[in-house]
């Protein structure tokens, strides 16, 4: 799954091969053999972070309505909702949202108070059903920002798919029913398209890269095109919130694949906290794990059914997007890139022991580390010198402050 394929040559000693195969399959795919898997219990770090952000406030409150997963079994137990919406309202809205995944807050802009909300598709259906509570709820969201302009809704799907969803009871917010909202489709394709795309990508890099036609075969996988679409969507969300000063609502069909990608990437763009290692972990914990991204079935942990249609590299795609960003814009922090790799691998092999491969250190970063060490060394020696000098000449005060200034400046830089 991490693009390595291991092959074992077993000695032809009769009986042992079969045994090994059995043991291997048993432990590699425990679910098919009714063994227990280790399940990570989520911490509620992200709620903490919301408190740090200044929530709850007079416009947004924390609700305990989902404490025992009574409202929605794929949402976290704590939710942030508009202050002006009662728990009863939420229940009514839940009836009109696929799998009860109501619009809840993901992120709030510290200055303009615009928010990113996430949810699932409305249950419009073929007949074009409407729900007054849902309509009012979206209006409350819009007003919570003191916003006069329309609320922006980003539907991550292509237009056609959203229309097609009506046949199965889903759909999207129509202009008639939601006059105070404008809807945009972001044209990101579904999990099956992504799965096939990655399969093709794997074909061109494994077992080795073809000598020629690399670029056209890369293009034909469409993988980078999908990455681009996801990033473009996230940019639009982030841009709307920060420059457009407008609250946005993001959903796809169920709101746990494409929605999670979009909200978390937008947050990564908007908030430097999420670009720290701690912040990134909080982000994944919050937007992915607690909001019900189906890691087990998407990755197929412990399941040997490789053809399972529920499998799809959605999280991998997200990590790829983050990598693209870290390559392009962010402070080049190697630990961060390493972390991405680790997260991916942990995701796929539940054995953290066999993590990193023989990656050679990047010369540029090596030089950087050398310089850092050199600087620290100089600063230490300088300080020592100054102390000795100061004891000799009591008047020399001018230079003693500059090293510490540099320190603080450097820390904000990295």
């Amino acid at each position: 799954m991490d693009m390595r394929n291991l092959r074992f040559a077993l000695k032809q000693e009769g009986h042992s091969r079969r045994d090994i195969f059995e043991v291997l399959t048993k432990h590699a795919f425990p679910q098919s053999h009714n063994l227990n898997t280790y399940i990570y219990v989520s911490a509620k770090l992200w709620v903490l972070y919301n408190v740090l952000q200044g929530l709850p406030n007079e416009r947004w409150r924390v609700t305990f309505i989902n404490e025992h997963y009574g409202l929605c079994d794929t949402y976290p137990s704590l939710l942030v909702v508009p202050y002006n919406a009662t728990d009863d309202d939420l229940k009514k809205v839940a009836a009109f949202r696929s799998r009860n995944r109501i619009p809840v807050l993901s992120w709030i802009h510290p200055e303009n108070q615009a928010v990113i909300m996430r949810c699932s598709q409305p249950l419009v259906g073929m007949s074009g059903k409407r729900n007054k509570d849902d309509e009012r709820y979206l209006d409350i969201i819009r007003e919570a920002n003191g916003q006069i302009s329309k609320l922006t809704i980003y539907d991550a799907r292509p237009n056609v798919n959203a229309v097609a969803n009506k046949a199965t009871g889903g759909g999207y917010e129509s202009e008639d029913a939601y006059p105070n909202a404008e809807l945009f489709f972001l044209d990101i394709h579904n999990i099956h398209v992504m799965r096939e795309s990655l399969k093709k990508l794997k074909d061109i890099v494994y077992p080795n890269v073809e000598e020629s036609h690399w670029l056209s075969s890369l293009e034909s996988t469409h993988w980078l095109e999908h990455i681009k679409l996801v990033l473009t969507g996230a940019i639009q969300v982030a841009d709307k919130v920060s420059s457009g000063r407008s609250s946005v609502l993001v959903h796809c069909s169920d709101g746990w694949d494409r929605t999670a990608q979009l909200t978390s990437l937008a947050m990564l763009m908007l908030d430097s906290y999420y670009r720290t290692i701690e912040g990134f972990e909080v982000l994944v914990q919050k937007e992915w794990i607690s909001f019900g991204h189906k890691f087990a079935s998407r990755i197929g942990h412990g399941d040997k059914n490789h053809a399972d249609a529920d499998r799809s590299p959605i999280f991998l795609q997200f990590i790829d997007c983050v990598w693209q960003m870290s390559k392009q814009v962010f402070y080049k922090v190697r630990p961060f890139q390493l972390l991405l790799l680790i997260i991916l691998q942990v995701n796929q092999i539940s054995n953290p022991g066999m993590l990193l491969s023989n990656d050679q250190p990047n010369p540029v970063e090596q030089r950087y580390m050398e310089l850092l060490a050199l600087r620290d060394d100089y600063m230490r020696r300088l300080e020592e010198l100054q102390i000795t000098n100061n004891s000799k000449i009591p008047n020399s005060s001018a230079s003693s402050t500059s090293p510490s200034q540099m320190m603080s400046q450097v820390q904000t830089h990295f």
Partner: protein, 712 residues
């Protein structure tokens, strides 16, 4: 006022104003609307320039300012193509015009695109400027009419010699190079070509195997003579040879064959009796193919407006591949590695063969030296290498760049190909090079600056004869040409700093006394086998090897067959893989990675004028800037340390200002200018046509659950 400014922009008294037009609107197309400024368009015997009416806009000055060529200057040699717009239709302009266009689009060889609107200009002036520009930049010219000569005849006398770059125009330079590479055991510098009595294509001085006689050099104007390029540390040498043209006459070719036989019999060089030949004209793409590929490739970057940019963006990879340019780079790098493998591992001499030995021979021999000789990765070393292999080596810059517009057929970006290949190495191993990619970019730009003689002659002979003849006639002092290696002519000290790589891991220098002894030792070791070599019985060249060689030179078609059949394919791969499995020594051998994903587009050179392709505060430059900051800081600390040590006066320590400009550099630094402000990414929505075979997948929902049953 304007006249004053006109004079101001002239770089030199020898620059003459030829024609001009006022109220020209220079604009940038952006989302259907145009932004720009009015000004004056002038054409001199040096350049085309646009003079902004509003001269106060100095705040947007580029970081890397060229002293000779301003932001709105195009040297006449830098003009690639000129298009006129008639009723919104683009038409290529050449020669005489019957009707004059409303707009002028100038595409430059450094990939800038200029749009000029002439709608508000007087008809008279339009006629004059358009025909003037076309005449001076697009029609055939005499060599003597190049600005180079008017400039050099009145050159300022401030050129302080030739800096330290080895120019290879004296016998001494060649002898020093032989000594540096320890090649003087088997090779000698000869002055046979003094007065160009051997050939006008060969340099005055060059190096041949010690046993090659003067008569044989003279016999076929230097053809069929192996000419030395460089010697490897193990003694194996890289040689080049210009082949005999295909002869119809049987007896002539028989004689040539005998001559070559003789040459190979005389160059017996124990202990290296093996010689591998490589006919580059059959094993590498032809100049024609290179030219076609580059023409297609550069088209991707000559973008009129942002709509075009987003349109190509959708199919970027396949467009890139269809140009074949990156594939050519890959093949050239691969060939260079093959040569390196022979020299390094098989201890075999390699003889590169080409019709004139001045095109692909130069590319391959230069690349091999960059990979194997860490001296060639320093600035001086690289410049000396270009001087040795290209300028003195006789690469036809004048014809290949088509500076005189004599013949399009001769045009081929051979030197650019080398710079592109070197760039691949620079970006793969930044600490191994003393210079930066910016250095390579400005070097490639200097190809079109007719102030330096470096890239404006086909050979040393051409330079010598044109200049001496001319100065005799006019009785004036000889021309004082500038060399491009004097970077102070183009850039001030601050800008020159961008050419030096802050990441360069300098070679640790041994202590002086140590070095002396080491050198002495080395010479002793070398002298031992030398005495043996001379007295050893002459061992014959392998018969089949000689045959192969002769066939190769005489009949290329036969050579092709042999070449393809006896190539051992595995030794290359093995060598390549084993090198890459070891840690890199930045001062040792350097092999580029040549798998598809590793060959990249030289973004700085090709994308630098396209604002859409910029990353603000991102890209590799952000890392480099951070390192620069840190280095500066360390330096400052060092200074402070020293001051503290010598604490004579207290309180007199001033904090040195830090370089803090790096906050949001463009990834295309130092070239990028903010031209277009609104950059909107276009959604590649309509690109799904080729997904038709997966139609059902696209239409499917993530998980098929009938939600209508959930409701209620």
């Amino acid at each position: 006022m304007l006249i004053l400014r006109c004079i101001e922009i002239m770089i030199h008294i020898s620059e003459q104003l030829l024609c001009e037009a006022s109220t020209v609107y220079k604009y940038i197309q952006e989302d259907g609307s145009n932004r720009g400024t009015y000004g004056k368009l002038v054409c001199t015997n040096f350049k085309i320039a646009f003079l902004d009416d509003d001269s106060t806009s100095d705040d947007n000055e580029p970081q890397l300012k060229n002293k000779i060529i301003g932001e709105n200057d195009i040297t006449l040699q830098c003009v690639d193509q000129i298009y006129g717009v008639y009723d919104e239709k683009k038409k290529l302009l050449t020669g005489q015009l019957r009707k004059y266009p409303e707009k002028l689009i100038i595409y430059c060889k450094d990939l800038r695109v200029f749009n000029f609107c002439l709608r508000y200009t007087k008809e008279e002036e339009v006629k004059r400027i358009v025909s003037g520009i076309i005449h001076h930049s697009q029609t055939p010219k005499l060599l003597k009419r190049l600005f180079l000569f008017s400039y050099a005849s009145a050159a300022p006398n401030n050129t302080d010699g030739r800096n330290q770059t080895v120019m290879f125009d004296t016998l001494e330079d060649w002898r020093d190079e032989l000594e540096r590479t320890k090649g003087n055991v088997q090779y000698k510098a000869v002055s046979t070509n003094e007065g160009y009595k051997v050939s006008e294509k060969l340099p005055l001085y060059f190096v041949v195997p010690i046993c090659v006689s003067e008569e044989s050099i003279l016999k076929y104007e230097g053809r069929g003579i192996p000419i030395w390029c460089w010697s490897c540390h193990n003694g194996a040498a890289l040689l080049k040879m210009s082949a005999f043209p295909k002869e119809q006459d049987d007896s002539t070719s028989q004689m040539q064959k005998a001559f070559l036989d003789g040459i190979y019999r005389t160059i017996r060089k124990p202990p290296y009796e093996l010689l591998k030949t490589d006919d580059l004209s059959s094993s590498l793409p032809s100049l024609q193919e290179i030219q076609t590929a580059y023409t297609r490739f550069k088209q991707l970057f000559l973008i009129d407006n942002s709509t075009d940019f987003w349109a190509t963006d959708v199919k970027w990879f396949s467009l890139l591949e269809s140009t074949n340019w990156l594939e050519i780079i890959r093949r050239v790098l691969k060939k260079a590695i093959e040569v390196v493998e022979c020299l390094e591992r098989q201890h075999t001499n390699v003889l590169l063969i080409e019709e004139s030995a001045t095109d692909l021979c130069c590319v391959i021999s230069s690349l091999v030296q960059v990979m194997m000789d860490s001296y060639s990765r320093t600035k001086l070393g690289f410049q000396s290498l270009i001087q040795k292999e290209w300028v003195i080596g006789g690469h036809g810059f004048l014809d290949r760049c088509n500076h005189l517009h004599k013949s399009d057929k001769e045009e081929a970006p051979v030197f650019l190909l080398l710079l592109n290949c070197v760039w691949q190495l620079v970006q793969q191993y930044p600490p191994a090079f003393e210079f930066t990619e910016t250095y390579l970019t400005v070097l490639s730009d200097s190809l079109y600056v007719p102030i330096f003689s470096t890239f404006f002659f086909n050979s040393q002979h051409q330079k010598d004869t044109t200049t001496t003849g001319e100065s005799l006639k006019t009785q004036s002092s000889p021309f004082r040409f500038l060399t491009v290696w004097d970077w102070s002519v183009q850039f001030d000290l601050k800008a020159q700093a961008f050419l030096n790589n802050p990441l360069y891991a300098e070679k640790p220098k041994p202590e002086k006394s140590q070095r002396k002894t080491a050198r002495f030792k080395h010479q002793r070791q070398l002298s031992l086998p030398l005495t043996q070599t001379k007295s050893s019985p002459k061992r014959g060249f392998f018969r089949e090897e000689t045959d192969h060689l002769i066939k190769n030179i005489l009949g290329k078609r036969i050579g092709k067959f042999i070449n393809s059949s006896d190539e051992p394919p595995n030794s290359f791969r093995e060598f390549y893989d084993s090198w890459h499995s070891k840690p890199v020594d930045y001062h040792g051998l350097l092999l580029p990675r040549i798998d598809g994903p590793e060959i990249k587009v030289w973004a700085q050179r090709y994308l630098r004028w396209i604002p859409e392709a910029q990353l603000h505060g991102g890209g590799t430059i952000a890392t480099a800037a951070k390192i620069l900051d840190l280095m500066k800081e360390v330096q400052n600390l060092q200074v402070k340390m020293d001051e503290e040590h010598s604490q004579a006066v207290s309180g007199d320590i001033h904090a040195v200002p830090m370089l803090r400009s790096s906050a949001r550099l463009s990834s295309l630094f130092p070239f990028a200018l903010l031209q277009r402000q609104s950059v909107k990414p276009a959604l590649p929505t309509s690109t799904w046509k080729d997904l038709e075979d997966e139609d059902d997948l696209v239409k499917r929902d993530d998980e098929f659950v009938d939600l209508s049953s959930d409701v209620l």
